[in-house]
Each structure stands twice: as C-alpha cells, then as structure tokens.
C-alpha cells in the first residue's frame, strides 16, 4: 500500500492567503493542485513536504479569458477544460492536439496547466506547447508579480524559476494572425508518458511564405525550442523538402536517452518524423486561418 509520509494540510482561501501560507511554512511546504504528480512522488518519498497547501478552492485561478491580443489562462484551469474550450482549439489547435493525449480523461479532470508547467517533467506536453506558442508565465510572490518568458520560466527537467514563496497564477498566450500550430505524440499505450512528441507553430506572410516558426520536442532531451528552425524556414514557402530539412535539424538538436520506451536512434527518428508531421499540419492550419481572415 502506497501512502504518503505524514504531513499537515491547509486549504488556501485566496491567492494572497496561499502566498502567506508559503511564507509562513517555508521550504517544507508545497502547493498542491490536481496532485497527480505530487501525490505519486510523495507516496514514493521522492517528495516529502511537511505542509501541503491546497489551492483547489482558488476558483479565481480557473479561467480562460481573451484580452486584446492575448489569451489568458488561469493556472488552476484543468486539462479537461483546456481540451474542451473551442476558443483555444480555434486560436491554438496545438493545445487540443496535446490535451487529447495528456494522461487519460479521468486524470485530466484533476490535472491543471499550472501544475504541469511547475512539475516541468521532461515528458510533460504543455511545457513544449507553451514554448512553441511563445507563452508568458505570470508568477506572484511576496514582492509582487513578475512575468517570465518560457525560456526564463522553464530552467530544465523538473526545474522552474518559480521561487519557494511564489505561485504561478496565469499563462498568457499571444494571439497571432495567420498562424497555425500542431502537436503529435507517440506513446506505447493510452495515458502513458511520451516516447517522443513534437509541437510546432507557424506564421505565414501575405504571400504564403513562412514569416515565423517554432518547433519544440517532448521527452527527447531538449528543454527549449529547436534553435535555427525560424532561420531555416523564414521567407520560404512550405514544402516537403523544407519540412525534411527542419526534421533533420530537430533530430540533431535532440538528445534522447535510451530507456524502456525505446533506443536513442529510434527516438532521434521520432524527433525527425514528428517535426515534419507537425510542421506540415501547422502550415496547413495557418493557410486555412489566413484564407478565413481574407474572406472575413
């Protein structure tokens, strides 16, 4: 029977209250939201907080809000909500692509975007999605609020810039016209961690050439986006040859480790093949969006 070691439990009533509790209980306290990463780690004694601060009552952090050129998503927004939100699927189809393959439907009822990003598991999908979309993390602490780009926020496997006394409150996604995005994952069975996955976002210029692009990898040994992809694709028209070049670049940038999910050369192959697929789909979606904009 797997049971966590003893701890004390307190429910935060507001964001300010959560911050006070973090300050009061110090380094031995941890925030719990969905709990589907933290509780398994506590059962295995990989995490052993003395205080759990439950933020599930902070409904003020559960929202999806379009605000000018940004979509603002509260950190306590559940995976199921993200998956089902039509506005997100329309603006950022990569999010629905990813959410369909994050864990399983029952786990998605509990897990949150904030929890996923703060866990920063190398096989976690939303970190890649946020990198590719150029999202910004809004973090609050005793000293006030700060906004971090994903490269600033996400420092590596299981590491973020969120301080012990801080709370990730919001993720902001910039809304870009003529842009498409996509995500694809290979997993051994439903609900498993990724063998490998890739995400892409592409913005097209008026003439149909690529104005900007980003590719990210999940579980393939690369925390940031693939360097050089934008430089390679910019100014060129989408083509299979171009996607193949980007695929090679992604495979070279990847640094996978062999494990029970596959050997290194297979995972490198996935970095290549999945990059081609997501770029192909992102370009098609961007073209569709651009056509709709022109009609509109």
């Amino acid at each position: 029977m797997q049971i966590p070691a003893p701890f004390d439990y307190v429910r935060a009533t507001t964001v300010d209250n959560a911050l006070e509790l973090l300050t009061r209980h110090g380094p031995d306290s941890r925030i719990i939201a969905g709990g589907h990463s933290l509780l398994p780690m506590m059962k295995l004694r990989l995490a052993r907080p003395e205080w759990l601060i439950d933020i599930n009552d902070l409904y003020e952090l559960d929202y999806i809000l379009r605000d000018g050129g940004e979509l603002r998503v509260g950190a306590l927004t559940r995976h199921t909500t993200l998956l089902e939100a039509d506005e997100i699927a329309e603006l950022f189809p990569i999010v629905r692509d990813a959410e369909q393959v994050i864990a399983d439907p029952v786990v998605r009822n509990r897990g949150t975007i904030g929890g996923s990003l703060c866990q920063a598991d190398p096989a976690e999908d939303l970190s890649t999605v946020c990198h590719v979309l150029g999202a910004v993390a809004v973090v609050r602490g005793p000293a006030g609020e700060r906004t971090l780009t994903m490269p600033e926020f996400h420092r590596g496997p299981y590491q973020t810039a969120v301080g012990q006394d801080e709370l990730l409150c919001e993720v902001r996604f910039p809304i870009r016209p003529r842009t498409g995005s996509a995500y694809e994952k290979v997993e051994r069975r439903a609900g498993d961690w990724a063998v490998g996955a890739a995400g892409a976002a592409v913005t097209l210029a008026e003439d149909g050439s690529i104005a900007d692009a980003a590719v990210g990898l999940t579980a393939l040994g690369l925390d940031q986006t693939v360097a050089g992809v934008a430089g390679l694709l910019r100014g060129k028209h989408p083509s299979e040859e171009l996607f193949a070049d980007a695929g090679r670049l992604a495979a070279e940038a990847s640094d996978p480790v062999a494990d029970q999910r596959g050997p290194v050369d297979y995972k490198r192959h996935l970095a290549d093949e999945l990059t081609r697929r997501v770029l192909r789909r992102a370009c098609a979606r961007a073209a569709q969006t651009a056509a709709q904009t022109q009609e509109g």
């Binding site: 029977m1 049971i3 439990y9 709990g35 589907h36 864990a103 399983d104 439907p105 786990v107 439903a190």
Partner: protein, 188 residues
C-alpha cells in the same frame, strides 16, 4: 483533522490523518468496499469515483481534498432494488468477468452518459481509456454502455429479474455468441 463530505447523498464526517487517500477513506472508514483499490499509481482506474459528477481516481486524491465535495461511489448507482441503466447494461451485455474494474468502469460510464447521452463506440473507448480491464477486451464493456444509452430509464425491479437470468446462465451464453458479430461491426 476533521473532514465532512457528501457520499451517495449522505453527509459524513470523520477525524482523519491528512495523508489518508480518498480510496482508503471510502473503503476503510466508511466501509464502502464497492470502490476497489488497485494499482496505487492512478493507472488502472478501478478506484474511480465521481467527485461533483466528474470521474476521479480516488487513489490520487486526498480525503482532505474531497472535503466539502459531493462523492458518488458504485453503491450510489442503484436506487433501492432498481439498478442504474449502466449496471443493467453490464448485466445484459456481459460487461464484466472478474468484476475488479467494474465499479470504476460503471462510474465513468455514468458520467459519460450524463454529459453525452448518445456516445458512439469511439467516444466510449476514449472515456474509459484511463481504466484497465484484463477480462473482457473492452468490447463487452463498450456494448454495455451502449445498452445503457439505449435504455436511459431504469425499470423498477429490472435488476432483480436480470440477476435471475444471469444465474440461470443458458440465455446469457446464447446471447454472447449472437453478439460476436456486433463486435466485428464495432471494430470495423
């Protein structure tokens, strides 16, 4: 710590350690052993209960986190002697063999039908994809949920009649052979 919640419509209140998981609270403190305890790692889904109407894996929710919420377990599906259509469907379509995964499967099915009264086979498979059955190959579970979708109104006393049929056995076997072709259609 003191916690209170609603379980199958009843207010319950207990003094517990914060580290008690919801599955153990339900089984050991409340004595409702219909909720099964399986893998401990939120993979198998036999511990699924409904929390405010949504399926959750109760091995990965603290009882303390469920305080103040509305919990429904498999014991809360039937109304007296009247089975929920999902339970009736699992009987009609042989949705279980050993029965270990069944409580979780039925609660996920109930939540699915509450949200989407006419799911297709793919939607049913998607809904139960976080739950493992090692007996049925899932085909009869899908058919059970489809049966429930086609018979949304529970019939008073139907559960008891159905139980007699299953115990009798012969009819059920014939039905199983007859439904083999349906399975092929579902896959196609």
């Amino acid at each position: 710590m003191q916690i209170s919640m609603t379980v199958n419509g009843n207010e319950v209140s207990s003094e517990i350690e914060p580290r008690v998981l919801l599955v153990h609270y339900i089984r050991e403190v409340l004595g409702l052993t219909g909720t099964h305890w399986g893998c401990d790692t939120s993979n198998c889904g036999t511990c699924v209960v409904l929390m405010d109407g949504q399926p959750v894996k109760s091995c990965t929710v603290l009882a303390a986190m469920a305080a103040g919420h509305d919990i429904r377990t498999v014991e809360g599906l039937a109304t007296g002697a009247t089975l929920d259509p999902v339970q009736q469907g699992f009987m009609e379509e042989h949705g279980l063999q050993c029965g270990f995964c069944t409580p979780g499967m039925m609660l996920t099915a109930r939540a699915l039908l509450d949200k989407n009264p006419h799911p297709d086979a793919g939607e049913i498979r998607q809904a139960i994809s976080g739950q493992i059955c090692r007996c049925t190959g899932y085909a009869t579970i899908v058919r059970s949920v489809q049966w429930a979708a086609a018979h949304p109104a529970a019939v008073a006393g139907a559960g008891l009649e159905g139980a007699a049929e299953v115990l009798d056995g012969t009819d059920t076997v014939v039905e199983d052979v007859a439904t083999e072709t349906d399975d092929a259609e579902v896959k196609a």
